[in-house]
Amino acid sequence: MVFQILLTLFALFAIIKTIGQYRRSQVSKYWLVVFTLLWAAVVLVTAIPHLSDMLAGYVGIGRGADLILYCAVVVLTYAVYRSIVRDQKLSAEMTSLVRAVAINQAQAPETEKNI
């Protein structure tokens, strides 16, 4: 019972946080909906554990907790991959930007040779 209460409290906290960030335009409406649904699902599954067991049996996995664990691993792995790709793209863009600024603000020597 303790775990259910703690998790529900955390889920509520996360949803409130997301709403706040949405109000400050830090996340899009899309992510507000996705995260709210996700946390709602988490609360639902912790409140009614046999719900996930039913679902797990339906897709051929023994326990609901296992199903949730598998899903979490898949989703997190994909999220990390996406973030690596974005990081590399940002890094390349950053280099281009830094290069453009450097070339733009180049400083010639006071006494130039025959150039």
Binding site: S91, A92, M94, T95, V98, R99, V101, A102, I103, Q105, A106, Q107, A108, P109, E110, T111, E112, K113, N114, I115
Partner: protein
Amino acid sequence: MKIIAVIAAYNEESRIAGSILDALPYVDAVVVVDDGGRDKTAEAAHAAGAYVLRHIVNRGQGAALQTGTTYALQNLGADVIVHFDADGQMKGSEIPMMVEPIANGEVDVVLGSRFLGKKAENMPTLRRIMIRLGVLFTISLSGIKVTDTHNGFRALSRKAAEQIHITLDRMAHASEILDLITAKRLRYVERPVTIFYSAETLAKGQSTLKAVATAKDILKKKMFGE
């Protein structure tokens, strides 16, 4: 013929002027790229008579060399680009010898080598072993036959410099350049150069551990491309 030396410098305020003054008699201009360091490298380079470009954020040696090379090609109309060092390990008086095969139209790229007979002074044994391993690693991957794969002293014709665009921002750019030489079918030759190892340069230089990160960058590029 316009010869431009390009130097990537990161926190080299005490050594950069020496390098610039060493190279300047043998080139038409020196371009220094201050790679987002915290010291007065840019001011020192300007005072020594170089063109100075500043990376506002540190992007790595490969990125800095590419910035300087692009500037030398686009803004200074360079015919030959010489990649030179910032800390007095190389000899400016060897620049004409490096440029000569390009000036004669024999090759597009001249690569400095520490292992052609003479000339690596005070190189510690561990460094020698690591560099040899690096050479083996790079040759086995790129198939290019050179004696020294990670020597920063090189000369590029305008044509070669335009075709070699460095995308590996950190230290793996030396291998990337070799790969591009092969891929673009550029003509190249190696020349023996003097590289002087002082206590100071060794203290801040490439650590043996960093070699692992560089190898990782190279493998990543090899396996997954651009």
